[in-house]
């Protein structure tokens, strides 16, 4: 085991680290050693690393100032391999593990010798808040270059450039009581709730539960507080309905007590998640909790004081010093000066004194501090300078001294002579801000309390607040408050608190704190050395003063103009101080100046954890038909429609798509082809009012459709625009089988339910989706009948089984409903069988179909064949602004229907009556080999002069093997009046194509082929 000497600031004993488990790690290329139980920050301090980063705007050297989520400076880049890079890791929250590699996120060529630092020192003076709004404007052409430079300078860490090797997941949880924060209040609350039989979740963001109890000087029930923590956790671990989640941050508090808890499962172990019993484990898990009651026990963040050069490494928050000494056995310096406005911070000096290192002085802003800790400090002979504060620190890369002066807080001025104290560490404390962030997420405004000089959470339904966040600062108060919170939360759940006993603690008497935020300097604010309010964003008191003087008087304006609180720490250290500075500049109180709304996340969360397992094939369902395996086996290329995977075309050998589609088309026109039509939506409709209902939803009449017959129908929204179409068969007097478009199925069923449930509940009709139940195989082509005849005993004669009839029978021994409908214009039968037996029938078709050259075809061929017939595809030939009349489908509009069907009224509105609306036409390119581009815009003038008026666009366009030329469907202004005219299509490549306006029905206009 290496000697502590290799870690100059490490104490020989005490602390919660495991000296028997040394860990090696690297920072900026240098190798160091720490111990299990260290955070990266405590290990760096143990090794005497002062400079961890350069600042964002002025490139000043920065060191570690805090010990938790509020740390603004120690934002580092982690990861050895490219794929394992993690930007912007907060060293104070990163557990140390063996082999950890960290680098500063800024600083060039190296963090403590950065050239930008020079720029910062000189340029800083010319870079006040919002300076970039005032410059880089001329010449305009230069802005892109300026911007490039600005972008390079900005940003903290860097994103990895390779895919994340890790996975993340989600778990949904429900509980009676969610306790956030496992400090004294949280533990007391969880224990009481757990003992009372409630379903409890206790989460805490730190590596270990216990919060302030892990480094307090106080004892509970006569034992070290940490021992009590262990007892409580052990008991809770034994309760079935209690879930303990360490390393878990409540990062978002959403409506109706929905809270997201981010559990870091492996980030403390390695760069990427190691296997666990040979199985993958997730790097992080998001617990999505719906809680009956939420107990916020999130404690407080200590506010540093704001004084000149308060960013030189060695300036720290007082409480952090105690944490490093007592929890990590690290003393972050040799000679301490403590500047405080309150008693509580005296702990830092006492803890420092305990280690045998020198406490130069405690500088207390109050005239007559008293209280137990003050007394103890005095009794130890520590020098206490009252009525004073540190107004400036000296030093370049580490504090070398502190300027101390007596100050007049009310008058905000230095009132006495200045003394310089030699020291290497300045701890400061301006009081304690309740951690109100989560409560603010749901929109509750925090409320200011003068007695504690801080904001407490606003009221949220179902939320109970306990401990420091509730202004109960002392250990005794916090424990009691936790108990009370638990009984309130339990009561709200209809449960009774049981076995809640208040542990015994000795109350420490503390004097009243002084209201000190930023410290006056000898020079006026604008001229004094920089006094940093928000260290991460380099926001200074001068910046805030400038903003308010320029008229940015709302705190939101101040924030946005100066970037106060916009860092990755969301201003946990700086916001209140910033508000105090703004308030002073504006001559207001802090509550008048108002607070800012905190947003999720409490601390940043990886995208991966929020996305969970919903990526790649699990990003969104892929839906398959029962015949999918066959399609794959036969080399189908697939097109995605809705979520369905549909065969697009079936290339043979090295056929191109064009060749394959031409072959498939010919097969259908000349012999027989088959399409897997299973993805079309199918809705079964039963009830004596089914017919009436159809008449109200479809644009065309349904009163006289006989049993055994099918009919095509158009569905509109009530604005008259086409929303869906399909064929519906009359199975029985009160029984119909409706088909919809593939993408529209769910929407149409919901549409039917909507009208039935909310407008016409009196109609006796029921609907249900049978899309997945049936498989539909559409055999198309002159030989369709011959083929089907070989597999069925049905009478297929044209007399007894006419076009638009349906019949029942068996196909290949499987009971089937066969619909004689056609989307190709050919003789066609759509065979519907129960999906489980579909593969058998499909294979039987190919067995018998071989002699006819039965050809499987996909959606592309289907599109060509239907377009040759002028059949529309809703969603391709329509776009939500097209009426049945625009499509020339007046034959499908029941003008005389007694009931004003959905969409009817809209057809008589001024705009839908216009003659010059866009209407469906066919286009025949003058160059017969040409296939127009789908989406090409149509103009009426040959010569191009931009901008020029457009008359419509091409919706569908293909090459037709049977016609021997390209053809298209288009929507064209006043198209019905333009038959025979020539229109033009100017393309991106500068070519202007010409086409003749023709009927959209290109093939077999009389429809003889489907009636044979």
């Amino acid at each position: 085991m290496t000697q502590p000497s290799s870690q100059p600031n490490r104490l020989a004993n005490n602390g919660r680290i495991d000296r028997s488990r040394p860990l090696r790690f690297q920072f900026n290329g240098t190798s160091y050693q720490g111990y299990a139980g260290d955070t990266l920050a405590s290990a760096l301090l143990a090794n005497g690393v002062d400079v961890v980063n350069r600042s964002f705007k002025y490139a000043r050297v920065r060191g570690i100032v805090a010990a938790g989520a509020e740390e603004p400076n120690a934002i580092l880049q982690l990861g050895r391999s490219e794929a394992e890079q993690v930007p912007n890791v907060r060293a104070t929250q990163q557990a140390l593990y063996d082999g950890l590699v960290a680098t500063s996120t800024s600083g060039w060529p190296k963090v403590d010798g950065d050239v930008m630092g020079v720029v910062g020192k000189m340029g800083g003076r010319f870079m006040p808040a919002g300076f970039y709004y005032k410059t880089f404007m001329s010449p305009a052409a230069m802005w892109p270059k300026y911007e490039k430079a600005i972008r390079k300078a900005a940003g903290l860490g860097r994103a990895p450039r390779e895919s994340d090797p890790d996975i993340y997941d989600h778990i949904n949880r429900h509980c009676d009581v969610l306790v956030i924060g496992a400090g004294p209040a949280g533990l007391a609350a969880a224990l009481a709730a757990g003992r009372s039989g409630a379903r409890v979740i206790l989460c805490d963001e730190q590596e270990e539960m216990g919060g302030s109890l892990l480094d307090t000087r106080e004892s509970i029930d006569g034992q070290p507080a940490a021992a009590w923590v262990e007892r409580v956790l052990a008991e809770l671990a034994g309760v079935a309905d209690v879930l303990l989640l360490p390393r878990t941050t409540a990062n978002g508090y959403h409506d109706h007590n929905f809270v997201t808890l981010h559990e870091r499962r492996t980030e403390h172990l390695a760069d990427s998640a190691p296997l666990l019993n040979g199985r993958r484990q997730v790097r992080a898990r998001m617990h999505k909790v719906r809680a009956g009651q939420v107990i916020l026990a999130t404690g407080t963040h200590e506010r540093p004081l704001v004084y000149a050069n308060n960013d030189v490494p060695g300036n720290m928050v007082a409480g952090a010093i105690s944490t490093y000494i007592r929890r990590y056995a690290v003393v972050p310096g040799k000679r301490l000066v403590l500047s405080t406005s309150n008693d509580h911070a005296y702990r830092a000096a006492l803890d420092w004194h305990d280690t045998g290192r020198e406490v130069v002085a405690i500088v207390d802003a109050r005239e007559k501090p008293d209280g137990d800790l003050v007394t103890e400090a005095r009794s130890r002979g520590i020098r206490i300078i009252t009525g004073s504060a540190v107004i400036e620190t000296r030093g370049a890369k580490r504090v070398t001294g502190a300027l101390v002066a007596s100050i007049d807080i009310a008058g905000f001025k230095v009132s006495g002579r200045v003394e310089e104290l030699a020291c290497d560490t300045v701890g400061s404390s301006g009081g304690y801000s309740p951690v109100v962030h989560l409560a603010a997420h749901t929109g509750a405004r925090p409320e200011w309390r003068d007695d504690i000089l801080g904001f407490v959470p606003g009221k949220v339904k179902g939320q109970v607040v306990a401990g420091g966040v509730n202004g109960k600062m002392s250990l005794a108060e916090a424990l009691a408050d936790g108990l009370e919170a638990a009984s309130n939360a339990l009561m709200a759940n209809g449960l009774e608190a049981q076995g809640g006993t208040l542990p015994k603690v000795r109350t420490v008497r503390e004097g009243k704190a002084a209201a000190l935020f930023d410290v006056p300097h000898l020079k006026p604010t604008m001229r004094a050395p920089k006094q940093f309010v928000d260290l991460q964003n380099d926001v200074t008191t001068a910046g805030i003063a400038l903003a308010t003087r320029e008229g940015f008087e709302s705190i939101e304006h101040v924030k946005r103009y100066t970037a106060l609180g916009f860092g990755t720490d969301q201003g946990k250290l700086g916001n209140i101080n910033g508000m105090a500075v703004a308030a002073r500049c504006l001559g207001q109180t802090i509550p008048e100046t108002g607070t800012t709304v905190f947003r999720p996340n409490y601390t940043p969360i990886t995208f991966g954890a929020i996305a969970g397992r919903h990526c790649r094939e699990l990003f969104d369902p892929r839906r398959y038909t029962a015949l999918h395996a066959w399609h794959v086996k036969h080399g189908a290329k697939f097109e995605e429609v809705g979520q369905w995977m549909r065969p697009w075309y079936f290339p043979k050998g090295n056929e191109s798509m064009h060749e394959a589609v031409q072959r498939e088309c010919r097969a259908v026109r000349e012999s027989v082809g088959v399409l897997d039509a299973s993805t079309l939506g199918k809705i079964e409709i039963q009830g004596k009012d089914a017919r009436e209902f159809l008449g109200r939803l479809y644009s065309n009449p349904w009163a006289k459709l006989d049993v055994g017959k099918c009919r095509y129908g158009l569905m509109c929204k009530d604005d008259g625009m086409v929303m869906d179409d399909g064929v519906t068969a009359c199975l029985g007097e009160n029984h119909f089988h409706m088909t919809t478009t593939t993408g529209g199925a769910a929407g149409v069923l919901e549409w039917l339910e909507l009208w039935h449930q909310t407008e016409w509940p009196e109609l006796e009709v029921y609907f249900n989706s049978t899309t997945d139940h049936w498989v539909a195989m559409a055999i198309n082509g002159p030989n369709a009948r011959k083929l089907l005849a070989e597999l069925t005993d049905m009478d297929l004669s044209n007399e007894n089984f006419k076009f638009m009839d349906w019949r029942e029978g068996t196909v290949a021994g499987v009971p089937a409903r066969v619909f004689r409908i056609s989307f190709t214009g050919e003789l066609s039968y759509e065979i519907n069988v129960q999906a489980n037996y579909a593969m058998h029938v499909w294979e039987a078709l190919f067995e018998k179909g071989e002699k006819y050259g039965l050809t499987p075809y996909g959606t592309e061929t289907m599109h060509v064949l239907r377009a040759e017939k002028g059949f529309i595809i809703v969603g391709q030939d329509t776009d939500g602004s097209v009426t049945p009349e625009d499509l020339g489908m007046q034959w499908c509009v029941g003008y005389k229907k007694p009931f004003s069907w959905i969409g009817r009224r809209a057809l008589t509105r001024p705009d839908t009556k216009r003659e010059d609306r866009k209407q469906m036409v066919g286009l025949k390119p003058l160059d017969s080999r040409l296939v127009l581009e789908e989406g090409a815009q149509i103009v009426l003038e040959k010569e191009l002069k931009l901008p020029m008026p457009m008359a419509g666009h091409v919706t569908s366009s293909y090459f037709s093997p049977v016609l021997g030329h390209g053809f298209a469907l288009a929507l064209l202004k006043g198209g019905n009046q333009r038959m025979g005219q020539t229109v033009y299509l100017p393309m991106a490549d500068g070519k202007v194509h010409a086409a003749e306006v023709v009927s959209p029905v290109f093939y077999d206009p009389k429809g003889d082929r489907q009636n044979v």
Partner: protein
């Protein structure tokens, strides 16, 4: 108006920045103005600026209940583009685009308009048909745009997964090079500063509590600071249009929804353009500060809460990680919500109302920020002349009666 420039920065630096003047005043309201604009967001401030600059009307008050630019101007994802499908929309947004291109100089305020291009991805054959249709229409309207294939996309956005392994592989994209992003707050502040300099009164913390009318004509507005008169009142209160309309006894074809957005932690430059995908519902760019700025579609329910539902954030980041697997380890810093006033055809309403002298400019849905200068410019003309600017005419509220909608929900369907 105090001139801004690099030279001025240096000069003021030498005097410790103690001599910068106010960017705008805090005047006492007059009892009567020529024109009152309700709403001190980007659109309202731009309207005031162009009223003063182009129409010489300076006796104008902008009445704002909170702080200038505190609504959606401060909450959007700063995307600026003009590649809309339908002529009327394309013309309006292109009018805005041309104003954007000289705005920093015009206002002497750097709004950081960055023409880094906007890409709309296509993932299905129908997506590509729609993209072709829109780009062809844009070209014939004199708006820049092209269709990119996967290889070209990959060159512009190297980190994007253009392989076939994604759930919805990228098939192509539309690309508008002149489009980009701008610094949202600066737009409001720049217009405010310039309008103030021309004599416009910016009345912050002044809430309109009623609209006073008589004989079907507007007389002025009741406010938290008393009645303020004007014969012409323009309402530009995105996220509150319905509330204001109610005061005037008017109904609007508008529903207000939460629109959420989020940012990552700041990082070194990694994405140099704006990528949008309607199919997987996510869009992303990187701010000059280094944050990835991300958004998606609106939440389904009506809401004025400036926050939305968590699943929307989940789906958005699933889409982003699907497109950029390398961003899986990047961390989300902050999320928030704006309130967008949506119309049935996803196009704005710039219109007179049944109340004489009362005009509304609202319903910009998710597309408001990019239109800011254009919206203000045509609305100013409409208020100044008492009748619709030609580019604004098609956006009259009457279209919801006649049925002459401009359906950007249709083939264009491109949000934001």
């Amino acid at each position: 108006m105090q001139h801004y420039s690099g030279f001025e920065l240096v000069k003021h630096g030498l005097s410790h920045h103690e001599n910068w003047q106010r960017v705008w005043r805090n005047p006492e309201p007059r009892s009567q103005y020529d024109i009152i604009i309700v709403g001190g967001g980007g659109h309202g401030l731009a309207t005031a600026y162009y009223l003063a600059k182009e129409h010489g009307i300076t006796n104008v008050a902008v009445v704002e209940k909170g702080w200038l630019g505190g609504g959606n101007t401060a909450r959007n994802t700063t995307i600026v583009r003009s590649n809309y499908l339908w002529d009327e929309a394309a013309w309006l947004y292109e009018h805005a685009m041309k104003l954007w291109e000289g705005l920093s100089q015009d206002l002497n305020y750097n709004v950081m308009f960055s023409q880094r291009g906007v890409m709309n991805l296509g993932h299905t054959l129908q997506d590509m048909r729609d993209i072709n249709r829109r780009v062809n229409a844009n070209r014939l309207n004199g708006i820049d745009g092209e269709v990119l294939d996967v290889k070209q996309i990959q060159e512009i956005v190297p980190l994007m997964d253009c392989s076939r392994n994604t759930r919805y592989p990228v098939l192509g994209a539309s690309w508008q090079p002149r489009a980009g992003v701008a610094r949202h707050d600066a737009v409001a502040w720049g217009f405010a500063r310039a309008a103030d300099a021309l004599g416009v009164h910016l009345l912050q913390r002044t809430e309109v509590t009623g609209i006073r009318t008589s004989g079907g004509k507007v007389l002025g507005v009741e406010t938290s600071r008393g009645f303020i008169g004007a014969k012409t009142v323009g309402v530009v209160t995105a996220g509150n249009s319905g509330v204001l309309a109610k005061m005037a006894g008017i109904r609007l074809p508008i529903e207000s929804h939460p629109l959420q957005a989020l940012v990552s932690e700041p990082m070194k430059p990694v994405l140099d353009t704006v990528v949008m995908s309607n199919h997987v519902h996510g869009y992303i760019s990187q701010s000059d500060k280094g944050d990835l700025v991300i958004g998606a579609g609106i939440d389904g329910y009506n809401g004025y809460g400036q926050r939305g539902s968590y699943p929307t954030i989940e789906h958005t980041l699933q889409a982003i990680v699907e497109l950029f697997p390398a961003f899986s380890r990047v961390r989300m810093n902050r999320q928030w919500g704006g309130i967008v006033d949506t119309t049935p055809d996803a196009c704005p309403i710039i219109s007179a109302t049944p109340v004489g002298g009362l005009f509304f400019n609202c319903g910009w849905g998710t597309g408001g920020f990019k239109a800011t200068p254009g919206s203000g410019n045509v609305f100013a003309a409409t208020l100044a002349n008492g009748k619709a600017h030609p580019l604004a005419a098609p956006f009259s509220i009457d279209r919801f009666i006649s049925g002459k909608l401009i359906d950007e929900h249709g083939a264009a369907g491109v949000a934001h």
